[in-house]
Each structure stands twice: as structure tokens, then as C-alpha cells.
Symmetry: C2
Subunit: 236 residues, 2 copies
Amino acid sequence: MSDGEVLQFLSRLPHFRGLPRELVGEVAKFARVRSVELGETIFLQGEACTAFYAVRRGGVRVFRTSSEGREQVLHHIRPGQSFAEAAALTLSSYPASAQAVERDTELVKVPAEPFSKLIEREPRLTVGMVASLSTWLLGLVGRIEELSISSAPARLAHHLLSLPSRERDGHAVIQLPMTKKELAGHLAIAPETLSRILRAWKDRGVAESDGSELHVHDSRVLEALADGGRSEIRAT
Amino acid sequence: MSDGEVLQFLSRLPHFRGLPRELVGEVAKFARVRSVELGETIFLQGEACTAFYAVRRGGVRVFRTSSEGREQVLHHIRPGQSFAEAAALTLSSYPASAQAVERDTELVKVPAEPFSKLIEREPRLTVGMVASLSTWLLGLVGRIEELSISSAPARLAHHLLSLPSRERDGHAVIQLPMTKKELAGHLAIAPETLSRILRAWKDRGVAESDGSELHVHDSRVLEALADGGRSEIRAT
DNA sequence: CGGTGCGTTGACATTTCTCAACTGTTGTGG
DNA sequence: CCACAACAGTTGAGAAATGTCAACGCACCG
């Protein structure tokens, strides 16, 4: 990836969108491309905070590990999104770990130290940072709401509806951005439970999973589930 | 509360701590005191975002209501803390509702419009805002981790350990900042389940609830629970 | 003094997890 | 190029945890 591409990529990030080209250029000067393999660790929870990252290609999962070994997925970062900005700006060590979940994942790494200095000089940058931090906040609020839905099918439905879908042959197709095991971790349910819910939906003609694609035949049932919890499906 | 008190109160908030007195004074000029009664609504989810708030006395809960009526508590705000800054700065409507949970709750209201203008003029303010947004982010990440702990006793233990405690007669005493019903909502469990967990802990001599106080007799069991999940207690 | 709502307890239904076995796919090394 | 290992995904059976419904005592407030 050339320097020009880095610049172009950066200016499309929520943080920098709308900022003058030369200002983003300042950031691009110390940004570095980093390629990681499937499963490679980008940083570990507790490690010194030296940079934040944006994903250019592939995918990253950000997760926390409790002292007992339990892992909770916090985010799945997809191309065009960034992560660890909050940590890089205000913390000395990463509060979570990050790992590539696709092969040939390509990151743009923005070192914290020069960036902090630049931000002090350039108040225009903080506007974008505040906006992007707020977006994270909203996203996390959404995650909390999702996790607080008690029933597993409702949680799954709610999550699926937040995913982008495209139309094909008159029904919606959702491309799952992660393996089903990871999705289960994201929703804090056992992989077996996920499998059974999908099975039940298939039997009822609601939706059918085909590899990493999910074909939704009756989106209204899904919406009812995501919303109201459990009554809707049981009645049918 | 006099203008001087408002100023002093504001300068102690995380956002403004360490800033020049005259700068905080600028904020204090348009800040207003607002008193609310127990149960009174401060703002509703979806309402136009006109201000953010700091709690001077009493307590506030911030919660989301799903279209079906389910309520999830996002935060409990206590004196010295603030809420809705992210919304006020970047959103047009509140993403959650807020309601006083104590009688004679006293808030300091900072209108969004003059504050946004001030922040544009005064980059020094953004530093504090970014820091405080990051703190919120971390707090939410903590909540997510908490909610993703699958077992209810572990979730409760984890939460209790994050609360301030004082020593008395050789054991820790935790003052619960909310009713048990609210606490249950916070942890996304049924009030009955909470009651039963506390009962079980009392029977085992781990901790005993006395009104809104919780006397912890064996904090190590609590820590083991919060951490490892379920094995520790069952074995004992 | 009567109502309202929290907190507790019991009984029961349901959901979800756990453990275990089996399949199919993918990637690796001989 | 194939055999084998590793692992996602599925399915089944049983156990455990939690929610639901219902009843009751109790404190607080009007």
C-alpha cells in the first residue's frame, strides 16, 4: 500500500472525514501499514499502549480475558473501522486484546505518541475524535442492551438485524462476519445453543443458515423476536 | 446552591478538573441548577438533546426502554458524576432516558448549545471531554464484561466488588447505592434470583444483607466467584 | 390506618449449559 | 497427493440455573 493510499484510506475514517487533506497528511506521515496473519495477536490486554489501528482489509476481534481464562468478545472490527483510539489517547495500557480473525488482514497503525502531540496542536482533530468516541459509546450501549436481552433467540435475532443484508431471490441474505463459534461468544451463549436456535428457525421456515450466509425467509418473525422476546414464536 | 458553589462543583468534575478557574467560570455562567423529585424524569429516550447533567446530590439512573417495554439500566449516576455528555455533544436526541432514584436529587444542567460553542473556542475543554468520554467507554466495557459473565452469582459478586466498601468490626460493609430490585435490573437478573443468591450466601456465611447494607464476611469467596465463575462455591 | 410496592419464599416450568459423540472441512506434513 | 490432525459445527441426553407465577410479611407514605 503506497503512502497515497494510506492517506486516502485515513481520510475516509470517521475521525478524519471532512478534514483538510494536508492535516490528514500529517497523520499519514507517521502512520504505518502492518500486515497480520490469521490468529496473530495485534496487542495484548495489559500491554503498553503505543498506537491505535484502523482495519484496511480482513477483520479483527477485540476481546477481554478474565483471570480465569474466560474470553468475552467486545467488538468485531471490519474494514474501514478503527479500534483502541480511546486507549491510545488516555490510557497507558490496553484494556483488551486484539487478534486478526481473517487471513491477510491489513492494518494502518497510528502511533499514539506523535498523534497525541499533533492533536494538541490541531484542535480540529479533536472534533473527529470526540465524534468517534461518541460513536463507540453508542455502539457499546447497543451491545449492553443486546446482552441484557435474556433469551438467546431474541439476542441472536437482535444482533442479526443489526447486520447489513442484501436481497436475493426475494429474501434477505445476511453475510455473517465471523464464524458461528465466534458469534456465539459475541452473544455470550454456548455454540450448541446457537446451532439449536438456527435449527429451530430452519424447521419453522423462518431462516436458514448456509455456511456463513443466513437466508432470512420471514424477517417479521425475526423482528418480533428481537423485540418482544419469546412470546411471538411460541404462539405460532 | 450559589453561583460560587456551582463553579466549585463544576471544577471538580473529571471534565474540568485542572482547568483554569476562569475557563470553568465560562461554563458556570450558563449552567443551571435543577432539582428533581424521586421518580421524576430528567429526560426521555428520543427527546431532543438540549443539555448534559452532573449530579450534585442524590442519584440518577440512566436506562433504555425497548419497544416492548423491557428496561435495561445503563448506569447509576452518583454525586460528582455526570451523564449524557456524549449525547449532548454529538447527537440530536437522547439515546436513553434518565430518572431520579433518590428524593431531593440536585443536578447541574449544562445546556448543549452554548457549551458546544465554547468548546469550539476553547480547545483546552476538549482534552477533558475526550478523557471523560474514554472513561465512559471503559466503564461500558466493564459493564459488557459484567453482563457477559453467565452465572448470576458471579455477576453479582463482580458488581459488588466494584462498589466502594468500608471496614467495620473486622469485615467489609458495602452500601448498596440502589434498591435490590434496581440492582437486579442492573445485572439483568430477576429480583427473586438476587434474593436467593443473597440467601445462599447468608447460609454459607459468605455475606449477609441488612437492608441497603451488605456485610461481607468472606471476601475471598466473593473474589473467587467474581473471577472464576461457578466452580469455587459449589466445591466448598 | 389503609394502600402501595419492595423483598422474600415456595413451587414449577423453561431455558440454557455441559458433556459426549460424530461429521465434514481445512490445512499440514510426510 | 494423500493421510491425518485439528477444529467448526451438529446433535442428543441429562443436569443445573434461572425465570415465572403466586402468596405473604413488612415498611413507608399519605
